[in-house]
C-alpha cells in the first residue's frame, strides 16, 4: 500500500511544465488533484517513473467569464466549481452535479482537468463535458489546440491527448435561454461510484416545444455515452409522458452499453437508466418551463 519510487518535478509555471513534458512525455505522468492517481499508485496498479506535479502552476486554476462562456483552468478544484457564482448563474447543471462527485474531502483536492483526462466512464465530469458541449484546450511546447469534448473521450481511461500534451483549460458555453436541466444518479452509498447516472438538458422554443434535448449517461459504456438518437425523438415535439417514455426506453435499451459489475447486473443498470431518464427529463422540462416565464 505504498507507492513505488518515482522522480518528482514540480514546475511553477505552465511553460516549465510543457518543457518537462516535451522531454519526458513517455515516462512522466501529470499529477493534478491525485484523487484517482494516488490510490492507483498506493495499490501499485500504476508505477509511473516520474510525476510532474501541476499543483504549483497557479495560472491553471482560474475560473473566469469570457464572451458567452466560462473558462475554467484545468487545475480548478471541484470544490471551487461547486461554489463558483458565475457557474451557478450561467451553467447551473454543473453546480448541481458537482456535489455528486465523491465527498468534500475529495473535491477539495480533485480537479476538473484531472477528472476529464482520467476519462473514467463512471465519473461525472466527462459526462457533463459532453452534455455542456465543452471545448478542451490542449497544449504542448509547440502550441495549443482546442478539442471538442465529443472528440476527446476515446474509450476506457483514454483520451485524444498526445503524450506530450497537457489539458490546460476548459471552455463551457453558457446554457442557452429557456433551458432546463437535471442530473441524477444512483449509487450504493453517498459518494460512491454510481451504478448509473444521467445528465439531461431540455431547451424549449417560444411555443413550448422542445428545440434541443440532451441525454448523457455515466457508467453506461466505455466512456460518457451521449444518447443522441433518444434525444432526437424529443426535438421539435411538445414533450409528454408517452414521448418521454419512448426516449427513456430507447436510451436504456439501445443506446447505452453498460457492463455490469459486482454491485449490479446489466439489466438493473438498464432499468435504472430508464427510470432516471424519465425523472430527469421531467425535471428538466419543468425547469425549462419555469425559465420561460
Amino acid at each position: 500500500m505504498k507507492p513505488a519510487p518515482f522522480e518528482y518535478h514540480v514546475p511553477d509555471s505552465l511553460e516549465q511544465a510543457l518543457d518537462l513534458m516535451s522531454q519526458y512525455a513517455d515516462e512522466a505522468k501529470i499529477l493534478a488533484g491525485g484523487q484517482s492517481l494516488v490510490p492507483a499508485m498506493n495499490f501499485r496498479v500504476v508505477q509511473p517513473s516520474m510525476l510532474i506535479d501541476l499543483n504549483r502552476v497557479s495560472e491553471l486554476s482560474l475560473i473566469r467569464e469570457e464572451g458567452e462562456a466560462i473558462r475554467i483552468g484545468a487545475m480548478a478544484r471541484e470544490r471551487h466549481l461547486e461554489f463558483d457564482s458565475s457557474i451557478a448563474k450561467h451553467i447551473p447543471l454543473l453546480t448541481e452535479a458537482t456535489p455528486f462527485i465523491a465527498h468534500p474531502q475529495i473535491r477539495n483536492r480533485g480537479t476538473i482537468g484531472g477528472s476529464i483526462v482520467n476519462a473514467d466512464p463512471a465519473a461525472e465530469l466527462p459526462v457533463l463535458m459532453l452534455t455542456l458541449d465543452a471545448r478542451l484546450k490542449a497544449q504542448n511546447i509547440s502550441g495549443e489546440r482546442w478539442i471538442d469534448a465529443h472528440d476527446f473521450f476515446a474509450g476506457m481511461f483514454t483520451t485524444a491527448l498526445a503524450p506530450d500534451e497537457i489539458l490546460v483549460e476548459i471552455e463551457l458555453p453558457y446554457m442557452p435561454p429557456h433551458t432546463g436541466w437535471s442530473f441524477m444518479e444512483v449509487a450504493p452509498r453517498t459518494g460512491d461510484y454510481a451504478l448509473m447516472g444521467v445528465a439531461a438538458l431540455v431547451t424549449l422554443d417560444e411555443n413550448g416545444k422542445c428545440k434541443k434535448a440532451k441525454l448523457v449517461y455515466l457508467n453506461a459504456g466505455d466512456g460518457p455515452v451521449d444518447a443522441k438518437e433518444s434525444a432526437k425523438l424529443l426535438e421539435g415535439e411538445t414533450l409528454n409522458d408517452a414521448l418521454i417514455e419512448s426516449a427513456a426506453a430507447m436510451a436504456s435499451q439501445k443506446e447505452i452499453n453498460p457492463f455490469g459489475n459486482v454491485h449490479t447486473s446489466i439489466d438493473f443498470q438498464r432499468h435504472l437508466a430508464n427510470v432516471l431518464t424519465k425523472k430527469a427529463l421531467k425535471q428538466a422540462m419543468q425547469r425549462a418551463e419555469e425559465n420561460q416565464q
Binding site: M1, K2, P3, P5, G34, N42, I106
Partner: protein, 158 residues
Amino acid sequence: MTQSFPVTITVNEKEYKRDVEPRLLLSDFLRHELGLTGTHVGCEHGVCGACTVLFDGESVRSCLIFAIQADAHSITTVEGLAKDKDNLHPIQQGFWEAHGLQCGYCTPGILMTLVPFLKENPNPTEDEIRHAISGNLCRCTGYQHIVDAVKLAAEKMR
C-alpha cells in the same frame, strides 16, 4: 531509495523541517516522521476517511497527498484541536459526552471532517450531518451516537 528533498511544513502551527522522499504520503509523514499518530491510516486509497486532516484549512485525505506537496503549506491534525487534555475542542467534548465513539479508529478523521463543516454550517439538520460524515466510515457505532455528538457539538459552538 530515491533522492530526498527538504520540506518545511507547518503542522498544528509548528514548523517542521525534514528531508522526504517524493513517494512519502502525508499520512505517513505525520505518523512516522513527526510521531503524530492521531491521524489514523485505514484504507490508504481515499475511501475510509480515517486519515482526514486539514490542508490550509480544508479537509483532505492525507493518504492521497504526498508530503512533498505540503511543502510551505499548513496542516492541522487531530492533535491540533485541543489546547490540552482538560480543554477539549467543543467537537471533541461533544463526542465525549454523547458517546460518539466506540473503538475510536475513525474518530480523528471524523473530527477533522467536522471542523470545516460546522464552521460553514453551524446549525446543521440531521440529514446534513449524515451527508457531511458520509465520507468517513465507522464500523462500530451505526452512526447514531456520532450524529447526536455532532448536534451537541454544534450547540456548544453556537
